[in-house]
């Protein structure tokens, strides 16, 4: 099946095109086409995985060159796919979670008139995301990268008749553009340094390149990763992206697309391995984002925005791990995988809650839903236990490893990075428990017009499947370091290093902090009454509620000066450049008009033009030759 892996991209892509072209006549059944396409992609991926498991660990990377883009030229660009343990892991995550969410969406979007278009975009996303992770060169990866950006834009703004949703889509698009420039610059530098942008050549030549080159490339890649994965300082779009339908938030803005940045860093391991400074920046960005996300999550009352903040924070963990080098790569991907399950599950749970509560998102008007929505409560609860990192649930196995790895090193680094990771775990426990208790426990604070009920099986079954994953996937993968060994051919073998604090102590500390966080949340939001409107709050709360004034900061630091700059430029442009250009354009137009006059419509003048031309050319060549 590995040689057929291109089908996993082609089938959803064809389905997306079909659904868009088919028009209204496919409205009644189009969504099932989308579901089938996504399932087919999953089956292809599963086949490839089984084939890979039958091979030796050393031979598990297969490059599949589909075609040469432009043969016989210096621009040596092939369109090829790389199937190796890292990419197949992503393929499985994307297609498995993606297919579940396709099923879920059939019910969730049932009453939407544009459901067919929604599935077309979802399929487009699956195809683009698979292209991103399967590409064997940065250029092809970039196509996938832009493709998921496009799908994300279309889906965030899916309900673009609401003005603020359309704005949110634009914001996501613009912020992502900044990151994309990083990827383009990185490709340019690779082409200059190595003469190629395919993984094989770049990674083979990276060890010989100078540290400065690698650092520059690494930082450009980090910029790209920050944009796509909503990492500091390009994090501002993710919260607004919750404007999209909830299945989109689950698939794109929690489980898969936002983790593409982590994929990019881990995939580029040979570059980062030669650039310790770039690695350190990656780790620091991760640490900042994980704390920032956690603080924001503590203050949000909108259930989706709280989950979005949590996503940001969890990806911060992954970035931190990816910045630690070979000891962290495998754990970054491990956490990405378990996070994909439990966060997607919780988003679907949030969608189920919203369905029951007339699309309300304010947790202050939820409460006591565990009685009426048992399945949602249980599945969400398993996701909650997983993200808290309670053993033996999935999150424990992956997050704890990251915290341990963060404490490895010398000097100030382990203390700062490890400390951030440790504190982050406590904060996570607090805000996730707050979210959980406010929604499912305490007293019912429902508005008068809602009558909560459990969702249909089409929605609950995917939630149950994901909950099972949230519960047991980590244990399964961690047993005997199964997953770490699986990834070893890509991420490299990491020597075992002892953290600066003994491992049992770290585990004990983490669990203690988690329990304290959860307990505090229980006291404040489980047992005590939650006010229906948000209290004024301290300065810290207000800061966090407003996303650390990220929009204000962006406005003050980038937008305002940018606007002033552009205004000045526009003025200068109008006065000086445009003056020149307009005059010149007038000149061109006048030239055009003049040469139009030559086109008199009279054959004799045409013939005269030809004759003059021939005589002139012949004279010059003959005389020049003499």
């Amino acid at each position: 099946m590995q040689s057929l892996i291109w089908l996993a991209i082609a089938i959803p892509l064809a389905s997306a095109a079909f659904l868009l072209v088919a028009g209204k006549r496919a409205d009644a059944w189009g969504h099932w086409v989308g579901v089938v396409a996504s399932s087919a992609a999953f089956l292809v991926g599963a086949g490839a995985l089984l084939e890979m498991l039958g091979q030796d660990a050393a031979n598990r990377a297969t490059t599949l060159t589909l075609w040469e883009f432009i043969p016989g030229s210096d621009l040596n660009v092939n369109v090829g796919l790389l199937v190796d343990p890292l990419s197949i892991t992503f393929v499985m995550l994307i297609t498995f979670v993606g297919t579940l969410i396709h099923f879920y969406s059939v019910a969730y979007m049932e009453h939407d008139v544009a459901r067919r278009r929604f599935f077309a975009y979802l399929n487009l996303f699956i195809a683009a995301m698979l292209l991103l992770v399967l590409a064997d060169s940065y250029l092809l990866l970039f196509f996938g990268w832009e493709g998921v950006g496009l799908a994300s834009y279309l889906l965030i703004g899916f309900w673009n008749h609401r003005n603020e949703y359309a704005t949110a889509a634009n914001k996501a698009f613009v912020v992502n553009r900044i990151g994309d420039i990083g990827l383009i610059i990185a490709m340019g530098m690779m082409f200059a340094a190595f003469g190629a942008v395919d993984f094989t050549t770049v990674f083979a030549e990276a060890p010989e390149a100078s540290t400065a080159t690698l650092t520059a490339i690494g930082l450009a890649l980090l910029l790209a990763a920050c944009g796509k994965s909503a990492q500091f300082p390009l994090q501002s779009w993710l919260g607004d992206a919750m404007a999209g339908p909830t299945p989109v938030s689950a698939l794109i803005h929690a489980a898969t697309m936002v983790t593409a940045g982590v994929y990019l860093i881990v995939r580029s391991a040979p570059i980062f391995n030669g650039a310790p400074n770039a690695q350190l920046v990656v780790a620091v960005v991760g640490a900042i984002t994980l704390l920032l996300g956690a603080f924001i999550g503590m203050a949000k009352d909108d259930i989706k925005k709280a989950l979005a903040a949590s996503t940001m924070s969890q990806i911060g963990y992954m970035m931190l791990a990816a910045g630690l080098g070979p000891i962290g790569y495998a754990f970054a991907i491990f956490h990405l995988l378990t996070h994909g399950f439990f966060k997607a599950g919780m988003f679907l749970g949030a969608g189920s809650v919203m369905h029951a509560m007339n699309d309300q998102v304010d947790m202050r008007r939820f409460g006591a839903l565990r009685g009426v929505m048992v399945i949602t409560w249980v599945t969400f609860g398993l996701g909650w236990l997983a993200i808290l990192g309670i053993p033996p649930f999935s999150g424990y196995w992956s997050k704890d490893k990251i915290i341990e790895a963060a404490f490895v090193g010398e000097g100030w680094q382990p203390w700062v990075l490890g400390g951030a990771a440790l504190i982050g775990a406590g904060l996570t426990a607090f805000y996730m428990s707050r979210l959980f208790f406010m929604t499912f426990h305490g007293k019912a604070r429902w508005t008068d017009d809602v009558h909560p009920h459990e969702s249909s099986p089409l929605m609950t079954v995917p939630m149950i499947v994901l909950a099972v994953g949230s519960a047991f996937l980590g244990l399964f993968m961690a047993t005997g370091d199964r997953f770490t060994h699986f990834l070893e051919p890509v991420t490299g073998h990491a020597e075992h290093h002892d953290p600066v604090i003994p491992i049992p102590v770290i585990i004990a500390l983490t669990l203690a902090l988690v329990i304290v966080g959860a307990a505090v949340a229980w006291m404040k939001y489980g047992r005590a009454d939650v006010p229906e409107t948000a209290p004024a709050g301290s300065l810290a709360t207000i800061t966090a509620r407003n996303d650390f004034f990220q929009d204000g900061v962006n406005r003050a630091v980038f937008q305002r000066p940018g606007q002033h700059l552009t205004r000045t430029l526009v003025y200068a442009d109008a006065a000086i450049v445009d003056g020149a250009v307009n005059k010149q354009a007038h000149g061109w137009a006048r030239l055009g008009e003049a040469s139009r006059k030559l086109q008199t419509g009279q054959v004799r003048s045409y013939a005269a033009t030809m004759l003059v031309g021939v005589v002139l050319i012949a004279l010059i060549i003959v005389v020049g030759g003499l």
Binding site: Q599, G601, V603, A607, G613, I620
Partner: protein
């Protein structure tokens, strides 16, 4: 003096003979089938059948070629080699697509061609002929003659014989240009201009061939190439002759300053004929120019390079600049064709082997986009006072808001325009890339720099039409004055050309690899 019967290896000529034979048969069909409707159907079937069979034969020959470069059909006269087979296949594809466009009709059953070519426009006789249901089905025979002549044009290695083939495909074109159903005066004027200027350029060509003969005492290209080595390269007669021969071919390509006919003819000719001419004439003329330059005049490469540079730059600049101020879609594309003639000539810089792959590929991508875009133009019509469909809506303003009314048609047009502009992921990008890299390989990077700048400026007027179609609101009441036709044959052509434009933009390697094998000329043992 005894006359030796020439030895002719007929077999490689089969595709050309099929096409010309079908053309002769088509003339007979005109004479023997009386009912116009039946005649049209038979003519269309014979035309497409003959072109398709010929295409099949070309492919069979190509496969049978194996490692050999080709066959000398007639020493010093005709050589069928891989390069000429590639051009022949391309011309046949263009011919089939054009035949489909020729047969297209509006919803009211109106064809692109007049009912009776021999009567004055607007006369009573014309009205009567239309009422009687007459049709000028001779266009199919003319198309076959033109395609046959063009195919022959690509494999001739003799300057005088080349002239015969030139006239063989030009004469049918002159007639076809005059046969427009609507705006016939414009059409007849265009035909007359084309004929007169064509005759003028033929004269220049012949004069040039005579001068070359006078200087080298040879008329077949290979012998000329050998003979040039033995005469001083500043021989005035030789240089003047070479310039004039090249000018005769540049006229057909439509390069500045031999381009004056292009806008008038593109505008006046029936749109299917414009589509065919735009694609096929340029391809055939380029094929012949390649052969003349690579076989005969390559020792003069340095002397003639000045001419190629000047004409290429002039074509790109004039074509682009004048296209900026056009208000008629067909004229705008005509000037774009002039600019593209410049891009084609860029590849001749240095006479590199790369150009032998780049040029056929470029002409293929350009031809497909040309046929597709003129097919789209033929579908956008003015609506007459009585509600019927009238002539094509060619004023730019009439295209406003087309994207909203007919998204697929406008989308296809946008695709062709982007391909003309050379935007990545369309065939035009790969074509430009190939042509420019061939020129760079020939050391002509300043020329390439100008070409890149010219294509950047040219993007402006292509994109302007796209903006007009998709982002401009339709003026009040304008909806009713423009009608969008929905003819099946034309739609097929549009779909095929659009699909090919996308495929060649994303997966060009298959065709490029085939054309790399075509980058050989067979040089006879002599």
């Amino acid at each position: 003096m005894n006359f030796v019967t020439p030895e002719i290896a007929w077999a490689p000529l089969t595709p050309i003979l099929i096409v010309l034979g079908a053309a002769a048969a088509a003339v007979l069909i005109e004479a023997f089938i009386k009912t116009p409707a039946t005649r049209r159907l038979v003519q269309l079937t014979v035309t497409i059948g003959a072109l398709a069979v010929a295409l099949g034969m070309v492919v069979v020959q190509w496969v049978g070629l194996g490692d050999s470069a080709g066959t000398v059909v007639m020493t010093g006269k005709i050589t069928v080699d891989a390069q000429s087979l590639a051009w022949q296949a391309m011309l046949l594809v263009f011919g089939i697509l054009a035949a489909l466009l020729f047969a297209a009709r509006t919803a009211d059953g109106e064809e692109s061609f007049t009912s009776l070519g021999s009567v004055p426009p607007g006369s009573t006789e014309e009205r009567l002929a239309r009422r009687a249901g007459l049709q000028v089905t001779e266009v199919y025979a003319l198309l076959l003659f033109a395609v046959g002549g063009m195919m022959l044009f690509t494999c001739i290695t003799d300057l005088i014989f080349l002239f015969v083939a030139l006239e063989l495909f030009s004469l049918p074109l002159y007639i076809m240009v005059a046969l427009a159903r609507r705006r016939r005066l414009l059409s007849q004027e265009a035909a007359l201009k084309y004929f007169l200027l064509g005759a003028f350029s033929s004269a220049i060509y012949l004069f040039g061939a005579a001068l070359v003969y006078g200087s080298t005492t040879q008329i077949d290209m290979e012998s000329i190439g050998i003979a040039i080595d033995f005469i001083p390269s500043n021989d005035a007669m030789l240089l003047a002759g070479a310039v004039m021969v090249v000018v005769g071919l540049m006229f057909k390509i439509g390069a500045v300053p031999f381009h004056s006919w292009v806008p008038d003819v593109y505008q006046g000719a029936p749109t299917p004929v414009t589509a065919f001419m735009g694609a096929a004439t340029k391809a055939a003329a380029t094929a012949a120019l390649v052969r003349v330059m690579y076989l005969a005049f390559y020792p003069l490469e340095w002397e003639l390079s000045w001419m190629f540079w000047a004409v290429a730059i002039a074509s790109m600049v004039v074509g682009t600049v004048v296209a900026l101020v056009q208000t008629d879609v067909k004229r705008m594309l005509a000037y774009s064709a002039v600019a593209h003639a410049g891009f084609i000539l860029v590849a001749f810089a240095g006479l590199t082997p790369e150009a032998l792959t780049a040029l056929p590929f470029y002409l293929l991508t350009y031809g497909l986009a040309t046929i597709g875009s003129f097919a789209v133009i033929s579908q956008v019509r003015e609506r007459a006072e009585d509600g019927g469909v009238a002539a094509e809506a060619v004023r730019l303003g009439q295209w406003a808001g087309l994207g909203r009314r007919s998204p697929l048609l406008a989308g296809a047009m946008a695709l062709f325009l982007l391909s003309f502009a050379g935007i990545p992921l369309t065939a035009g990008f790969i074509g430009k890339f190939e042509v420019f890299s061939a020129a760079v390989a020939g050391g002509a990077w300043p020329l390439v720099l100008i070409a890149v700048l010219a294509s950047a400026v040219a993007a402006f007027f292509y994109v302007r039409l796209i903006v007009l179609m998709f982002f401009t609101d339709v003026p009040e009441g304008a909806q009713d004055t423009v009608a969008v036709e929905n003819d099946l044959l034309t739609r097929i052509v549009i779909i095929v050309t659009a699909a090919a434009t996308v495929l060649l933009g994303i997966v060009p390697s298959g065709v490029l690899n085939v054309l790399q094998d075509a980058a050989v000329f067979l040089v006879s043992a002599g």
